[in-house]
Amino acid sequence: MRTALLTTGLLLATSSISMAQQVEPIEYTLDNGMHFLLMPRDEQPNIITAGWISPVGSVNERPGITGVSHFLEHLLFKGTDYIGTSDAEGDLAFRNQLTEIRQKMRAYTTDVQYKRFYRGEIDNPWDPANDTPELREMRAQMTALQDEQAGITIKNEFDKVYTGNGGSGMNAGTSNDFTVFYINIPSNKLELWSWMESDRLNNPSLRELDAERFVVIEERRQRLEATATGKLDEQFDSMFWVASPYNFPVIGWMSDLMAYTEDEVREYFETYYQPANLTGVIVGDFEVDEAKQLIDSYFGRLENKRAAPSPMVTHSVPLLGEMRFTGECDCQDQVEVRYRSVAYGNPDEPVLDVIADLLNGRTGRLYKSLVEKQGIAASARAGNRSQHFAGSFSFSATPKGDASLEDLELAWLEQIDLLKTEPVSDRELQKIKNQSAADTFRELQDNSSLFFQLAITEAYGGYEYLNTYPRAIQEVTAEDIMRVANEYFKSDARATALYTRKGGEAKLITIDDVKASLPEEMVGMIMPNLEAQLAELDGMNAEQLRQGMAEIESQAEMIPPQMKKLMDYIQQEMQIRLDAIESNGAESSEGGEG
């Protein structure tokens, strides 16, 4: 039975490699350097998914303008010189006046208001409630101008034109590494798409900049601040990445969101949205020759106005130790252990992805071990994320019952040890390869999924990766896995986040817990000693306690699982005694000062 199935599987794998789909779009490049991938496909009649991508994202930003890639993405829906207003000339005059006053307010705020803030006179330099009379005057001028401009603004005309022509699912997305714009259109509307997209690339109005600023701030609240773990995740990311520009959120820091000026946004647009920096992608029911003609007429008019953007320069520095980040939130207790992995396209990427597959799913190692066998996790997963310029591999889990976050960490370390020391079986590896082969087809099944894969791989360096990557997965060996696990999963170069429920009661370990956790033959040996040890702890000073705890910590990985509860208990008792000494000390020193 087993052998028979194994044979089927191996056959399956060999045959799928040979019949694996080659993704072969038609490539077309304009004189201005704008590149296109055309993928006619008649499986979904009458419909086209079309869009374009720029390899620009938050990695291209710097302090002061964090989030500007995403903000600009929003503003590119605000129309153009001609779309979105009933009076192009009047509108331009308003925009210029607004730009001027905004610049003045920004200069004033970052000078006067920031100084008041540093001196502790106000809590937030950007809050209108803290306006000085001068600033209040400027703000009133700005509001008056905006209200007047609204009279000639055709709100959301860009969207209305598309909607009225059968466009649907119009949207855009910004990541650390790229910004992509897309829409589904009926197959007779390719010229409309060409008109609209080339127009916003040619002369975007960046209209209604200030109202949109507040929309993005609400988006930040919705996505980050009002979610269970959003604010903590943001800081953990920051800590993990150290120098690399992956160390700030795509949506940007709040102070920067308040500060953008039109000049900053426009400069950014002109740098990163030049035609030579863009790739257009069209997938679905269309004729290639017609598409090429439309592309010539419409996108051919775009000009490169600035020098080509300089590539991202700053690399992340290696982690030199273990970082630990603890926080409380309205959330499930959870742990994440994260390592640096590799950038997109590195030959180890497929190996790391296979490792994640080995760990995930109902037949994956994490479910089998942490959820099923040990019963310490409610859920557990691993993932490799290879981004454009750097990557990370993470393990995350939520505990179950009495299990602690440290129990989960320890269980993870055991999994790593297995990966490092024992070759994965042929069948286990073949299972992953079989799934990967079938998934290759599944992911090409609909227009929009195909669109995103083409656009993103192209932004990262070439769509050909869609064809080479599945082959690389099939070539991963058990030795690769051991080598890669040893290379990237290092205890002295990792970051660990431990989140606990706010106001949650800390569960103290009792002597009985310890007793229950020990194998029977050890109870008689250890328990009497434990009491003596506790008595010894009572005599220790703060320094000794700290040393003792550090010692246990440093040996954490060598402690056998059945002794874990015991060591946790001793640590806990040390901490309790240390807290007592320290709080006494604090009181007496306060007394001394008083």
């Binding site: 199935l5 089927t8 399956l12 045959s15 799928s16 019949m19 789909q21 499986e43 979904q44 009458n46 419909i47 001609y82 409630a129 306006d131 509001t143 609204a150 709100k155 959301n156 969207d159 209305k160 034109v161 909607t163 009225g164 022509n165 649907s168 589904n184 197959s187 007779n188 010229e191 008109w195 507040f214 929309v215 993005v216 988006e219 609240r221 919705q222 601040e225 009002a226 269970a228 004729e287 017609e290 003609q293 007429s297 419409y298 309205d330 959330c331 109902r362 959820v371 099923e372 409610a378 859920s379 179950k400 019952g401 069948r427 073949q430 079938a438 087809f441 599944r442 099944q445 609909d446």
Partner: protein
Amino acid sequence: MNHAMKSTLIAVVMATGSTSFAADIPSHPSEIQFRELQFTPPEAQDFRYELSSGVPVFIAESNEFPLVTISMSFKGGEYLVPADKAGLAGLTGGMIRSGGSSTMGPEELDEEFDFLAANVSTSIGDRNARASINCLTSNLDSAFDLFMDMLRNPRFDESRFAIRKDQILESFESRNDAGVQIAIRELGFLMWGEDHFEGRQPTRESIESITIDDMKALHEQIFHPGNLMIAVTGDVEPNEILAFLESKLSDWEVGQISPDIPKPTKTYEPGVYYYEKDQPQVQVLIGHRGIERDDPNAIDVEVMNQILGGSGFTSRITNTVRTQEGLAYTAGSTFSNRVEYPGMFLSYFFTKTPTTALATRLVFDEIGKIQTEEATTEEIEIIQNSLIETFPRNFESKSAMMNLFISDERTGRPADYWKNYRDRVRSVTASDVQEAALNYLNPEQAVIMVVGPVDEIKAGNADSEADANRIATMAEFFNGESTILPQRDPESLKPVDSE
């Protein structure tokens, strides 16, 4: 045949089109001439087959990839479950997949499916249950036998059951973590009641009370050919796959057909309801009873709602609350229609605390405006064109199409519905839209469900620098009266004493 015709059509257009490309680009997109798009909606009968047992099978062949999907839909769901066992349907649905079969324990079965790269899923929703398998066509024979054994003889393995129960109970701990989840839950309780399946929630007690026998009974009630319709898409020849299914399913006995879905009996009190939560953004849901799917005015209501808040940036609520005032990232409205009884109208937005009242007022103003003034011709035409031009998307993929046909047959949608749909949309007039707004929007019957810091929300932005017509407090709704809902224990969902 069809394809050849289309290519010819494009060739003709291309020939005439090339001269216009040489000319200047039109100065506005409204000046672009588009070729007519011919689209005849596919008809269910062209894809419909039957097994000798009478089970309908909808088949659409597609040879682009060597994959096949067989998706089974069964009548029956959480509505069959008594309130004190709330959550039984979802739990059973998942356990059929994860609990093993008659010949294999859960681990072995999972291994086989994974090794064969077969994506297998089972679920039981509120109204219908589903079981599907997607795999390489070459593996169908072996994978399908495993699949059917699991589906007909689920083992409901005890240790997997214990794990799943624990996971569900763990997840209940976070039911008060996200404000939007609280808002949806409390609105459901208020409008549908804590017993009807639309509104109710599983609790620690209901999940703990569920036994393997409960799951077996529900499984037996739902999963048999009497409740079954099948959709097949992918790399298979219709008659071959039909014969395949015939041979594989011939000995499956018909059980009792699931009863119809019960109507809710609860009435509700309109008003402002708060749930206290310390968070930097407030979630507001404004809901009232909606309409039945087959209501003769359903399309008028659809057009009306698209203008009001259902078409993203094009709609008025999004335009006002988001674009103009910058008060929210997410804002809009929707009608969720039900086949058996009126569904729900819902408007929603998330905003910072002090502007909750202002944004609420703007939404009510928009509702008032669409009731008292006729929408413009331009607004109506944009929505009509949108619904007509996006119409083919209903039939976008073969699997979407087959599932639509199944749903239509199950719910008795009139046979000419899709054929007449575009004409019906085109016939909507400005007065139809206003009528729909007057008859189907009832702000005085609304529940305004608000989650956030209550005292600050009530005060609104009265002490801010905003200009006078942008000052608002919650006192302006329902005469300033409101109810503060009790805090609930996240696991039992029972009210807890406030601190």
